[in-house]
Assembly symmetry: C2
Homo-oligomer: 270 residues x 2
């Protein structure tokens, strides 16, 4: 999936511009590389009955699920990381899971909103890519204008109440010395997945074929490069499949909420 | 409150020994300085109806409330930070709050346990004191064998649902150069309150008189020393007063759960 040329304008758009473009249906594509200095966020929306188990799941699995904000029940508006953002419209694309099955992918969820829904915004690896680029570490899927490749692994998340599932990881190919730099850079960024969870042989974490990601697009490894794997905010979607809540709405992988928080703020207490 | 001489033996006791001593009613005193390399934890127990709001409160206030483990509803046993520990008996002393009032202080809560209770274990500043001592930063209340002084501040926590309240801080006096070292040491320890929230003039955070802590014991400041303040895991108790849940059971300030996790493990992802 290549970006259309509209992306060149949006790369420097403000977060508010981006969210309004989503709300108006003018941007329906992935958000990798857009609004560079601003953090992006994964989304999970659940009925209140499932919300406590899910927040426990996030607490027990902070690398894949670093929580940035939790909404008030029934309130689709954010108040902290993107004040005024509307979870029903301000992401480019959503997925709808019912009883553990992906049943739909839609551009807004206005018709699906319910008074008992709670939204969870979770840190995203796109936030650390700007830091990697600043350290001269390549980010292949940005170079190619595609979505990041993501894989289900055999790493079990800690279960919490009814929530369980495998960890999903994102992958970036790089040279060994760049992988070391990448560990140094991302280990400081705990609010956006922190240090990698694996590097090298994909089969050791249950990934059979790097050319066939479970989410996103494949990217090539060049000579001398190794794959480096980070815990990914798509993990809640794998948990949705395993845990079967009656309803769970998420972003479509790679189609994130762009927040008003700068990536550098995630280094601090905010 | 001075420690009895039994403490000298327990300073090197295992966490399991300590918990069994509490269970048997043989240790009912504060735990500062005990089981040096092992992390200690603050406790908050709430009915399930209040559990989600409380976990949201912790998520929104990670400096005072870094969550280490959440129990399954109705299960008084821990499974992660101290497998097999019993929340009803294995702390030296508990406080019982009903509708926002402190109504009792007890040595166990066997009679109070209910099928709808959920326990929250929260990181404790005692964990970083071993690191401070290792960096030659003095810890006055350990030198004196007393409980750490704690103060309610005018720093408002982020509210979450029905939970709100002021931040409580612990205070350690030290020289300016030691305060700088202390920031360096504790900023790495986010699971146990992280870097200080203030240093110097106590009135700037609403503390009128350092000699009259709201919890724990006062300690003297020596010539040239400034007070350094860390977010404290007693904050949920101040929130209990402000938020008035029908029942909230906590540890008595300074009377912590000793866990099986080493302080150094809190630096890693665990």
């Amino acid at each position: 999936m290549a970006f259309d040329k509209e992306m060149l304008g949006l790369r420097t758009a403000t977060p508010s511009d981006m969210r309004l473009a989503c709300r108006a249906g003018e941007w329906t594509n992935v958000t990798a590389g857009l609004c560079g200095p601003y953090a992006q966020a994964n989304l999970a929306i659940l009925p209140a009955d499932w919300a406590f188990d899910f927040l426990r799941f996030c607490q027990a699995n902070p690398k894949p699920c670093p929580v940035l904000e939790v909404t008030n029940m029934g309130d689709p508006l954010l108040h902290r990381i993107a004040p005024g953002a509307d979870l029903r419209t301000d992401l480019p694309r959503y997925r709808v899971y019912r009883y553990g099955e992906l049943v739909d992918e839609v551009l807004d969820i206005k018709e699906l909103w319910q008074a008992d829904l709670v939204g969870f915004l979770i840190g995203c690896s796109f936030s650390f890519e700007a830091e990697l680029l600043a350290a001269n570490v390549p980010v292949r899927h940005i170079e190619l204008g595609t979505n990041v490749p993501m894989y289900r692994t055999n790493i079990a998340c800690q279960s919490a109440g009814r929530f369980k599932g495998p960890m999903v990881v994102s992958m970036r190919p790089m040279l060994a010395r760049q992988a070391i730099q990448a560990v140094e850079v991302t280990s400081r960024l705990r609010a956006v997945h922190g240090a990698p969870v694996h590097l090298g042989d994909p089969s050791l974490i249950g990934i059979k074929d790097l050319t066939k990601p479970d989410y996103g697009d494949p990217v090539p490894l060049y000579t001398g490069e190794i794959p480096v794997f980070w815990a990914c905010g798509v993990t809640p979607q794998a948990a949705a499949l395993a845990s079967k809540p009656p309803l769970m709405i998420t972003h479509a992988p790679g189609h994130m909420l762009v927040t008003d928080i700068r990536n550098e703020d995630l280094l601090k207490d905010w």
